[in-house]
Symmetry: C2
Subunit: 420 residues, 2 copies
């Protein structure tokens, strides 16, 4: 069993784009443990418990999906009710507890009751995230059964096991770390996530949990997290299919010391913001590199749009076009399909000014094939595992970057070659 063995779906080959798991130092004020509650038939951890030092601040971003899950509903309400303070987080794989109505909500509350009683904290200070089958109510008794033992085994060194415990069809565990200086103190940021895997008949879900020992107040933490997520986790896409359960939580224990910072725009937070964004981007890239069937990692940059939102929509349309993604899988510099995707984004573009590059190679400029177009050089470039496509749509000066993977037979096999 290697370090990148997948507990999620037995027999799934590790992605050729897999990234090694980083060395994870503890974050002061965070303890973790993993347990097997039995949401899967095979032997694997499926519950992660995190305990945070009293006074830990929390910020979160959640799926904008109209059919959010019971744990997402809970987190949104709890963060409001607690004023952005958290003492614990419970995560389970194997059951999304989504589309489960009142029974699903009650199941979450039963887990929150038990954990808050054990920790002697308010129920709203306990959060939950789930991934797995949709439409099945969480069998919360399975979590209660392992709770006492999970509490006993909490350790500051539990990050790596936790990264594995939340995997579903991920083929490698995902983590990232960074340090930043705030004033005269060095703080640590640690993050783990699980990504765009599917397991029959489960739902792909992005769960991401980050912790820092920095002392930042809840409102400021949220103000820092939200825009950073837009440029990172929300700028990666595998197939455009969004989950009911997507959750990103950032906990700040304050154990690095110093007064709690309440102003998100304070200059002393600049380095922290950059480090946080680096961790989120690293995690986002790992999600794409573990995209189902992914063989290529593709950066798509759109320039010359009328607004950042417009640039992002065009980039997303390119990233999610099946014709673009299959061309990339076929190592085909099919820039006509890029033109097609740009045009169908329904955003302002100036056809006569459109330019397209693959890496440094110019495919098109001024709305037509480029005089420099070199088929042989293009074909050679497309053999790379990591590709960069850039498009100027000639309508303005705004830009956006997104990341995606190719669409291969592997995606069809993982998602279509089975019967429920």
């Amino acid at each position: 069993m290697t370090d990148t063995a997948a507990p999620g779906k037995p027999g799934l080959a590790v992605s050729p784009l897999a990234v090694p798991f980083p060395k994870m130092e503890p974050v002061a004020g965070v303890e973790l443990s993993t347990s097997r509650a039995g949401f899967y038939k095979h032997e694997r951890p499926d519950v992660v418990l995190m305990r945070f030092h009293p006074g830990t601040a929390v910020a979160g971003t959640f799926t904008r999906h109209a059919v959010g899950s019971a744990p997402v509903d809970w987190c949104k309400g709890a963060i409001q009710a607690s004023g952005g303070r958290a003492r614990a987080l419970v995560v389970n794989a194997g059951c999304a507890n989504s589309f489960t109505g009142q029974a699903g909500a009650t199941a979450v509350e039963r887990v929150m009751d038990a954990v808050s009683t054990e920790l002697g904290c308010r129920r709203a200070e306990v959060l939950m995230a789930s991934t797995g089958v949709i439409g099945v109510v969480l069998q919360y008794g399975k979590i209660l059964n392992v709770l006492q033992d999970a509490l006993v085994r909490l350790t500051p060194n539990g990050w790596t096991d936790s990264a594995k415990g939340i995997m579903t069809t991920d083929t490698f565990p995902k983590g990232a770390v960074a340090e930043a200086v705030i004033g005269d103190r060095t703080v640590r940021i640690v993050g783990i996530c699980k990504g765009s895997g599917m397991i029959a008949p489960d739902m792909a879900t992005m769960l991401s949990f980050l912790a820092t020992d920095a002392a930042i107040a809840p409102a400021a933490l949220q103000a820092i997290l939200s825009p950073a997520v837009v440029r990172t986790l929300n700028s990666v896409t595998v197939d455009g299919d969004r989950s009911t359960n997507d959750t990103c939580l950032l906990f700040a224990t304050g154990r690095a010391g110093g007064p709690e910072i309440t102003d998100a725009s304070a200059p002393e937070l600049d380095a922290f913001k950059a480090a946080l964004e680096a961790v989120l981007l690293d995690l986002g890239h790992q999600l794409v590199k573990d995209g189902e069937g992914a063989q290529k990692f593709v950066r798509v940059e759109v320039n010359g749009a009328v607004s950042e939102a417009s640039a992002r929509k065009i980039a997303r349309t390119i990233c999610e076009s099946p014709l673009v993604k299959t061309a990339i899988a076929g190592e085909d510099a099919n820039w006509g399909r890029i033109v097609m995707a740009v045009g169908r984004a329904d955003e302002p573009v100036v056809r006569e000014k459109i330019a397209i590059r693959f890496g440094d190679l110019v495919a098109a400029r001024d709305g037509a094939v480029s005089a420099e177009y070199d088929e042989a050089a293009m074909s050679a470039y497309m053999k790379n595992a990591e590709l960069a496509i850039s498009v100027d749509v000639g309508a303005g000066s705004a830009s956006a970057v997104m990341w995606t993977c190719d669409l291969t037979h592997g995606y069809i096999s993982i998602n279509g070659d089975y019967r429920s």
Copy 2:
């Protein structure tokens, strides 16, 4: 060589959902011929010429793609300039003449010059449609070379050959016919189309050409065509990737006799409208059934939306979700993926009222799995080649229907398993 042999991509297997080509009677006032201009290396027809009786009215709908092709630009302008009258149509396969700048526009004009001179009509009375490689300027000389011969061979019986002449990676030619009574006259409606095929490195394009001997004035014809296309050709989707060249043209020769009808809302046109919509729907269904790699034909109905536009957007999101489409390919009644797609459409839904049916089988109701849910019956249902999924989103009373196919290894092979 069978009747359904594909001239487009040699060796492509005929779709298992292929529809027999109907018997095509002539339409009074329409003559057709097919020619080989040489846009393909292999022996196949690639140019279709249609000539219409003087006074023929024309209506058209075109791609809303922001990067429309030179022939689409031409048609839009010509129909305006001619007041909706047409004498001829030239169609070529093998070159889309899209993203070709001024050179592409000039190429179209050279063809229009030649045809209008031959027919002694205004240039704006000649229309053009193209499908094939993007970014390559039309070599119009190839069309001029065959023009004289194409004119000589015009025949009212050319519909079947024309349906074949416009194919690219279609695996069967597509046609539909209907009759309707207007007043005391029976009129005929005939249509052919080519669909969502790809041929390396070409662009999928929907071209659809219909003719009737009814006497209907241009403005009325347009007022009838546009809404009918929304409910038919614009309600089918294979992969969500829209072409730069999509074109639907309807010609009304008036040769059935009677005064030209100028009021689109005249009750005497009701039967004609229904017949036209039936032809368009038949053609649209054939496009889906020849979708790349299609093994299943799927009808998606959305009810309970706040508006028809909202219902359509939800239906489209379901139809274009890779996870839904791969589940269908896997014959998996994975209703969780339907919930996911409904929620990510970003339209108003009431989670607690959502209901989902596969055929007559209820999978979910009131926002949770249904008590009637029968896994064995569901699995048996999913084996059908034609499937119906219906969703009630519980937010209003508006509905929409769309049609799609599944996403299979065949799609990846056709679009990704080659190098340019």
